[in-house]
Symmetry: C2
Subunit: 225 residues, 2 copies
């Protein structure tokens, strides 16, 4: 595994600035999630579609007035706050992300509940098996980071599909089950919130890169997923 | 694996109607993909964000004038055409989906190229490892279906992360390597288009359900991913 393309940006934003920015652009992403959802379900006629398209394109034009081409990346500030606004799973500015919010039960256990609407469909009425893989990969990577005390990369990920997962509110949980030198093993599962049986079970092997040290970047950044 | 919640809908739409509908609503989804992308990158001020949000909400309102709550599901018509417009990977009406378009090289080999922009980010500048898992899961499930000649469900999926995958144009390929009774093994990889080494390698075990028969639904529908 080489990671030569990685870069983390030290930002001059204060944590208060970061939070104001997350609110401003996060609410925009929330509105966009709504249009993503209804665009899958709508049956309006061609003239109404044209009207909606016109509005969406106008919105794009406004937002493009000042929009550098680069992806959001991972940034951190001197106060120890880090953020990855464009992340496909947790990015608050990314309308593709549900977004997932993680809860740390302890340094080795993380869980999350999130609503998965019609945009996450695979089999009829069910969450796409690959979406479960996407969410678990991210949750497990964060878990392996030990609450962001070490930088890790994913080695292997194994998923066992046991039951279909209906669209709606899901719960997922991951825990570190082994740390052996530079190897961290994490197990996880995802299922309907309140359900007794997991839909998908997963095991992941995460690696602490040789170039890792306990310096500032690794302490702030955690998982690279 | 139980699949009691599955349902497929026989539609009265002709294939010509389906294609007109895909064009109409697919172009809408294309516009929404643009706003998803620019909303991650934009730096416009609060008043411009407010103007854009207002336009997006107006578009949502128009599309909601006639929008049943149900997910898109998988539909098929009497001509043998099937469609899953809301699918998280290939759904042409789903702005979360890139969308992926599959190319069948033969009944056992499928490949696809697709552009992955800033909305698919994980590590800085790279495709989220879980997005690779999402795309490979779908590609491999479709491959296991033998060009939609059998209905299959995912059993296990194993992913090996070898190199980071830069955002941009990617290529992925999958092939059936073994069929043993009801078990179909598929191997796959994903990497930068034109690159020599894969970023992620995968092996999947797919199962032909016991209730499968060679009837009309299975012949049209293929993979449930």
């Amino acid at each position: 595994m080489t990671l030569s393309s990685l870069s983390f940006t030290l930002s001059e934003l204060s944590t208060a600035d970061v939070e104001a920015s997350e609110k401003l652009y996060g609410e925009l992403a929330g509105d966009i999630r709504q249009v993503v959802d209804v665009a899958i379900r709508t049956q309006v006629t061609a003239d109404r579609v044209a009207a909606a398209r016109d509005l969406v394109r106008q919105a794009t034009q406004i937002l493009a007035e000042d929009a550098p081409p680069e992806p959001a990346g991972i940034q951190f500030n001197a106060e120890g706050r880090s953020w990855n606004w464009g992340n496909a799973v947790v990015g608050v500015r990314n309308a593709i992300a549900p977004p997932v919010v993680l809860h740390w039960d302890d340094d080795a256990t993380v869980h999350s509940e999130v609503d998965l609407g019609v945009a996450y469909e695979g089999p009829p009425g069910s969450v796409h098996g690959g979406v479960s893989a996407l969410l678990l990969d991210h949750l497990m990577g964060e878990t392996a980071s030990g609450r962001h005390t070490r930088l890790i990369v994913t080695g292997t990920l194994t998923l066992r599909y046991v039951h279909p997962l209906p669209l709606g509110r899901i719960r997922m949980e991951a825990r570190i089950t082994k740390v052996d030198g530079r190897k961290v093993t994490v197990t996880a599962h995802i299922g309907p919130e309140g359900g007794n049986e997991p839909a998908v079970e997963a095991t992941g092997l995460f690696i602490i890169p040789r170039w890792h040290n306990e310096g500032a970047v690794s302490a702030e950044v955690g998982s690279l997923d």
